[in-house]
Symmetry: none
Subunit: 245 residues, 2 copies
């Protein structure tokens, strides 16, 4: 609907598409509607329908913004909010049924950033969401961000996530293990034994064929021309090296 903002609007390569948003609600229909709408606008959505799973999901995906319904089956939404605030200051948008102004005060008091009453219009909601992301980005970009931009792809070491031209790339645990080690030692040559010991354990130090298989897999997923890698380099007989574009 004629919204002027989205499309290329606020999308910046630095911040990227794929802003991670966690949606917590116990109504399947609303959950589905939000997931579809947000995904269509380039957000990377994860969801939870209980307070417990919400906290777990937050710790796991480290979202950049959280949408939290106060009416959850197991734990009070306010409690969930407090649980989050004990650990992160990610922006939280609270949803609640209309008129519950007592809830509203309590939520904002507990550290919510914004408050939306159901039912709500999608445009308004998206606007508030974007505002929350903007605010969050302003404060959270503090320490040496654990995000490495390789040129062709971006590795977020804390979120354990890789994006390529905005699109998230799915890596298996082993693939991520190798990539993480190489990226954390950017520019340095990492010997095969080091990788095998760190990823597979101390008793796999000679299984160099594993590395061949997984490096090939990583290159297929991350390199523009997997046959002639630019970032994931092999030094024959010595090891592997990650370099930025």
């Amino acid at each position: 609907m004629t919204s002027r903002c989205e499309m290329t609007g606020w999308v910046r390569s630095s911040m990227g598409d794929g802003v991670r948003v966690l949606v917590v609600d116990d109504e399947p229909q609303l959950l589905r509607a939000l997931r579809i709408n947000l995904a269509a606008r380039g957000f990377q959505v994860s969801t939870a329908s209980t307070g417990a799973s919400a906290l777990a999901a937050a710790a796991k995906t480290n979202p950049q913004v959280v949408v939290l319904d106060l009416g959850l089956p197991d734990i009070d939404g306010i409690t969930v909010l407090q649980g989050l605030r004990g650990w992160t200051n990610v922006p939280v948008i609270v949803l609640s049924a209309r008129g519950e102004s007592v809830d509203k005060v309590a939520a904002l008091d507990a550290g919510a950033d914004d408050y939306v009453t159901k039912p709500f219009g999608m445009e308004e909601f998206l606007a508030r969401l974007r505002a929350a992301v903007r605010r969050g980005a302003a404060v959270s970009d503090t320490p040496g961000s654990a995000v490495v931009d390789a040129g062709g792809f971006v590795v977020d070491l804390t979120a354990k996530q890789v994006t390529r031209s905005g699109e998230p790339v799915h890596l298996t645990p082993t693939e991520w293990g190798i990539l993480e080690l190489l990226v954390r030692n950017e520019g340095k040559l990492v010997s095969q034994r080091d990788i095998l010991g760190a990823v597979w354990g101390p008793s796999y130090l000679n299984q160099s064929n594993y590395l061949r298989v997984y490096l090939a897999s990583l290159r297929r997923k991350l390199e523009d021309d997997p046959g002639h890698p630019v970032h994931l380099l092999t030094e024959a007989g010595m090891g592997y090296r990650f370099v930025r574009g």
Copy 2:
């Protein structure tokens, strides 16, 4: 990583087998299962079943990674974690019964690196354990790279990389072994026997023709005029010497 890489440098044989891991749990069965599984993968396991003994064991064995159950009989697991964090930043993986999400958040807030909910699959657990070891290894290895500028080329001893007028130069393992040894003994004369023993092993002490071949190769790659070397010098009958420009 954590490689000391002394003179003989990148010798192929032994590296950190037996990563030291401390497992803290009060369930004898789980403790036993973990000990067996971890030992089978080459880890060097020590265990504790109370918070007090855990702190003592940590101080004694100085583990490279700690697995900590939150439900201990004497001290709260969080307290143990804080006790550890008081003097070390060893990676800690927290175990907890499922659903105790508040505990998880509190644990992560107190400095845990990861958490696993019980019951858990051994594969997943091992993957997280290796990831923790990996992170610990990556950060502990950050003393600024030792770089030697020869004038015509630059040798980065930690990254194992040589650049010439900005462009990286590719060296074979043997070439690097010789160059590293010479550069680490900058200005000193290194006898042929020393080089042969360090790079090829004690049973190649008389294969001086190897050195001729590889020194020629190094000069071709690094010297401006390979026929009249300036940095990689020969002392007839004695050995070789590296000097800066």
